[in-house]
């Protein structure tokens, strides 16, 4: 176990116009399971490679438990990286793959054999030592890759989109396995993903990267409910942004005056409310309400999306399908933004 500290970490690839990673500072707590979340090509994997020692940063520092590791080659850092494709060595059996790291460290054969057996049990692949990687299913291959990394008991495990090539049910299974292994081994784990659901389900804390920069580093609930800025909010599916200003503790905008929850700082000029929090059709003309016209209605399966027009301000609402049933396109409805669901953005 060891914490990871990134200090103004920057990577500019030769000939690139913009830095792939731009002054990222971040502390991954010892023993935590942390997600680096962001769209593709936002610099997540680059950060992982710099931590693993497979790529040298342009500037900045990487520290494990306080000590800089920049001058250490990958094999002597206590951080093991697992790649997106399982990257099992095709000439070696499953057992040889899992034991690879220990063999490279010159451990005795009997010890390796025993450790491989234990590790395969842990990832529920008991007795498959002699198989070739090509004889395994995708999920099994991923388990072998996980076992191959964990057998070294690394202080830090880095996972680069580990489950993105697996199908839905297998992915859920592997996520649970990872969570179990994390709780059992207490290894500091940092994983890269573009899937916000995966990040939310697995991670203690999420670092959201957009275009090479760290935009918010927080617990999942806060990234959802209390985003730092509009880009973060949009990444997590927020659609409703209402410009305005604070007048005597209330948010004043074209739709009227809105009371805000007590816990938020009354500054910022953009009011946001998550689409799933919007209440449509409440008759009582309570506070934080306004009339709007339904411009479109779309059934999405577990939810129905209503697009609303409130005198020029567009509002998105996600309702459960049975609640949305009575509403038709073109109808005039009353829209309520519950006070506790409001949030202000700069």
């Amino acid at each position: 176990m060891s914490d990871v500290l990134l200090e103004h970490l920057t990577k500019i690839y030769p000939g690139a116009e913009y830095p792939a990673v731009d002054r990222v500072s971040l502390k991954v707590e010892s023993g935590s399971l942390t997600a680096l979340l962001g769209p593709s090509a936002c610099g997540k994997s680059t950060i992982l490679k710099m931590i693993a020692g497979l790529l040298a940063p342009t500037s900045g520092d990487v520290r494990f438990s306080g000590a800089s590791v920049l001058l250490q080659p990958p094999q002597s850092r206590d951080a093991v990286m697992m790649f997106q494709d399982h990257l099992l060595f095709p000439y070696m059996s499953v057992g040889e793959n899992v034991g690879f790291g220990l063999k490279m460290r010159g451990r005795p054969k009997t010890e390796i054999t025993r450790a491989v057996g234990e590790m395969l049990d842990l990832v529920q692949l008991h007795g498959l030592e002699r198989r070739k990687p090509s004889q395994l299913s995708g999920g099994q291959q991923q388990r072998v890759a996980l076992a191959r990394a964990l057998i070294l008991r690394p202080k830090i495990l880095l996972l680069d989109e580990p489950f993105s090539n697996l199908d839905e049910s297998l992915r859920l299974e592997m996520q649970m396995l990872l969570k179990t292994l994390h709780e059992e081994m207490k290894t500091t784990m940092l994983f890269v993903t573009h899937d916000q659901e995966e990040a939310i389900v697995l991670a203690d804390k999420i670092a959201l990267m957009l275009a090479g920069r760290l935009r918010q580093y927080d617990i999942p609930q806060n990234l959802y409910g209390q985003p730092n800025n509009r880009e973060v909010a949009e990444f997590f599916g927020a659609r409703n942004f209402i410009p305005g200003r604070i007048v005597s503790g209330k948010f004043d905008c074209s739709l009227g005056q809105f009371s805000l929850p007590d816990h938020i700082q009354p500054d910022g000029g953009l009011l946001t409310c998550r689409p799933e929090s919007v209440v449509v059709g409440s008759n009582t003309a309570s506070e934080n309400s306004f009339p709007a016209t339904i411009t479109s209605k779309r059934f999405l399966g577990s939810q129905t999306r209503l697009k609303l027009d409130a005198s020029g301000q567009l509002i998105d609402a996600l309702l459960s399908p049975n609640l949305a049933e009575p509403f038709q396109t073109g109808a005039e409805v009353n829209v309520h933004l519950p006070r506790q669901s409001l949030w202000l953005l700069p």
């Binding site: 094999q75 790649f83 494709d85 990257l87 490279m104």
Partner: protein, 283 residues
């Protein structure tokens, strides 16, 4: 995966359907390769063989005795040929492996020009280059030395090695090396346990070509060696032009030996019956 299986099935079917033709072509190929060697083999054990006789009128091992006698130049020439071919192969690997890796894995500015330059020795006749090089080699004191001959053999051998290795590396995922490094393997360990098994079949085939191309050089050896470096093809040519058909035949038998041996070894790799080639298909 499924597609390639289907392809395999179709080729199998075609193979079965045309087995008659396949046998015919095999027979033709064999006779094309073997038949010309029969008179040479006969010459090597003949004592007298005059036109229009179909077979020699008398046999003897005179030619073979001469070839293996201490007074003949054949054995020293054989050693020299092997030494030069091994040297050329070794240097070709040292240069061709990294060059092929760069060409196979990376895109860089001027890549097309580099590829053409590497292919150039296969397009430009070697003798033209060697004539120019001869002057330089004389100044450097390399002319007439085994080392000089080995160096000049690199002109025709390097393109084979570089092209074979570029092909191998274009099907290679270098991320497995990064994975090995991250799992604790040093650079050398990574090369031996990860890179080498993946490229070994290609490396063997490239070395085979390189060895045989160097083995069969005549003009380049003659020009740069200046008669002081006598390899098997030079000796063969001398005896052939001197009309000693019996000794020519005997030397020829020795001369074709490595090609035959290496082809038999190489065929295993080329036909994919080898474990490491199977592995390469999986990558």
């Amino acid at each position: 995966m499924r597609e390639s299986h289907q392809n395999m099935h179709t080729t199998e079917n075609v193979g079965r359907g045309l087995s008659g033709l396949a046998w015919l072509s095999l027979a033709m190929l064999t006779s094309w390769l073997i038949l010309p060697l029969i008179p040479l083999a006969l010459w090597s054990v003949s004592r007298s063989w005059f036109f229009p006789d179909l077979l020699p009128s008398a046999y003897s091992l005179r030619a073979w005795n001469y070839v293996f006698s201490t007074t003949s130049e054949v054995l020293p020439a054989l050693g020299q040929t092997i030494l030069i071919a091994l040297g050329a192969t070794f240097v070709s690997i040292v240069i061709g492996l990294p060059a092929g890796r760069a060409l196979g894995l990376y895109q860089f500015r001027g890549k097309a020009i580099v590829e053409i330059l590497i292919l150039a020795p296969m397009i430009v006749p070697g003798i033209a280059v060697a004539l120019g090089l001869h002057v330089v080699f004389l100044k450097l004191g390399l002319a007439g030395s085994e080392f000089g001959v080995m160096l000049v053999h690199l002109i025709p051998t390097l393109p084979y090695m570089v092209l074979v290795m570029a092909g191998v590396f274009s099907n290679y995922n270098p991320a497995v090396e990064a994975q090995a490094r991250s799992l604790g393997a040093g650079p050398l360990q990574t090369f031996y346990s990860i890179t080498l098994p993946a490229i070994l079949p290609g490396l063997l085939i490239g070395s085979l070509f390189t060895f045989l191309v160097s083995w069969s050089q005549y003009i380049l050896t003659l020009l740069i060696g200046g008669g002081r470096v006598v390899t098997l093809p030079l000796l063969l040519f001398n005896f052939a032009s001197a009309g000693r058909n019996d000794i020519t035949g005997a030397i020829s038998m020795i001369y074709i030996l490595p090609g035959m041996l290496l082809l038999l070894i190489g065929a295993r790799h080329l036909t994919g019956r080898n474990r490491s080639v199977e592995g390469m298909h999986q990558i």
